[in-house]
Symmetry: C2
Subunit: 242 residues, 2 copies
Amino acid sequence: MQIPDSPNETLPEILLFDVFGTVVDWRGSIIREGEELGRRNNLDVDWAAFADAWRGKYQPSMDRVRRGEVPWTNLDALHRTSLEEVLEEFGVTGLSGEEKDHLNRVWHRLDPWPDAVPGLARLKRRHVVAPLSNGNVALLTNMAKRAGLAWDLILSAELVRCYKPDPETYLLAAFLFDLPPEKVMMVAAHPDDLRAAAETGLRTAYVPRSLEFGPGVQPEPPDPAFDVTAEDFLDLAEKLGA
Amino acid sequence: MQIPDSPNETLPEILLFDVFGTVVDWRGSIIREGEELGRRNNLDVDWAAFADAWRGKYQPSMDRVRRGEVPWTNLDALHRTSLEEVLEEFGVTGLSGEEKDHLNRVWHRLDPWPDAVPGLARLKRRHVVAPLSNGNVALLTNMAKRAGLAWDLILSAELVRCYKPDPETYLLAAFLFDLPPEKVMMVAAHPDDLRAAAETGLRTAYVPRSLEFGPGVQPEPPDPAFDVTAEDFLDLAEKLGA
C-alpha cells in the first residue's frame, strides 16, 4: 500500500484481525495446558501432535456447517465434538465430562503473541480494532479479558451465522459502520483468509507467524497482491503510520 | 439482592447497561453541541427544548419498527429522520446536509456521567460488561472510544434486529454466553427497561440518574422488585462486591 500524504483519506478506518494463529499462539497454548493435564492425570500423550490433530478437525467441522450438512453450530460446540474424536485417537480415557469441558475451553485461554497486546493498543489509537474470527463471541470475549486484548468491539462469524471464508463474515463490519469495504482491512497470518477478504473488497495486511505450526514450518511468502506485509503488529502500526 | 458469602455462585457473570441516560448524559451533550452550532450559525434556538423534542421522537420511531410498519432501520437512520422533523419544528433552516449529518452523530459523542468510566473499569474486573442499547453498533463503538468506556464487547439491539423492550434483545447475552438468564443483570436508569428485562429472567440493577431530564424532573423511586438499587456505578460495584 502506498502511504499517502494525507493518510486519513485512504487509510482503513477499521482493522479486522484473524485470531487463531494471527493474534494468539493456539498450538503453544494447547501444548502448555495439555502437559499440565497430562502431569495431573498421568497421561502419556504427545501434546504437540494432539494440538495439531485437534486443529486439523477445525476446517472440516466448519465445512460441514458451511455446506448445510449440519445446522448452525458455534465453534465451542464444534471443538467439543472434535475433542471427543481426538481423545479417542490418542487413547486418552478416564477424563470426566467436567475435565473435558474445561480442556475444550482452552481455546478461550490462548496466549497472545508477544507483540499482540502492545500492537493493538497502538493501532486502536487511530483505527477501530476488532477480531473477525470463526471463534464464537463468548470465546473471543473471554480470551480478550484474560490476555488483555483491547478490542473496540467483538466481531465474530457467529453474528452472521456462517464461517469464514463466506463473504457475509468479511462484510459485516462495513455493513455495521456504513462504510465502503475498502475502508476495512483484514489482518491475518493466512493468505487464504486474505484472498477471500480481498474478493469482497476489503484491504489486506499479511502478518506471517513463523511459529504458528511449530518449528520448521515456514509461512507462505508475501503476495504482492496484499496491501501491506508486516513482521508483527508493531511493524503494522509503523507501516500504517499509527 | 442478598450478598452471599461465596459470591461467585450467585453473582451475575454479565452486566448489561442501558446507555442513553444510564451511562451517558444525552441531554446535556446535545445542549452543549447545539449551543456551539448555534453560535457558529447565528441560530436562536432553545437547545434544551430541542434535545427534549428530538428525544421525544425516539420511542415512537422505534415503535414503528417494532410494529412492522417500516422495515428494520437502525437508530442512526431513525435519529436522522427525526432530526429533519425537529429542525423544521424549531424553524432551523440553512444547515447543509453535511452539517445535519454531523449533528445527527452527536449521539456518537455523548459525554458519560462522571462515575461511568471509573465504575465500569472497576466492575469489569469481576464481570463481563457490555452495553445493551437500542443504539446501533457503530454508535456505541464510537461513543466508547471517545469517552473511554472500557466495554468487554458491544451488544446492541441491532444485532438481533429488534428494539428493547422486545425479549430477544435482553436474552442475546445469555444465548451467546450459554448462560441461564439469571447470570445476566440489566443495569438501567429506567424502571420500564428493568421490568421488561426481569420478565425474561434477567436480574436488575436500578441506577436512577436525577439529572437525565434536566433539573427538577425526579426519577421514579426504587421498586423493591429490583435486585439492587445503586446511586451510581461505583456504588453498584460496592454493592456487588466488585
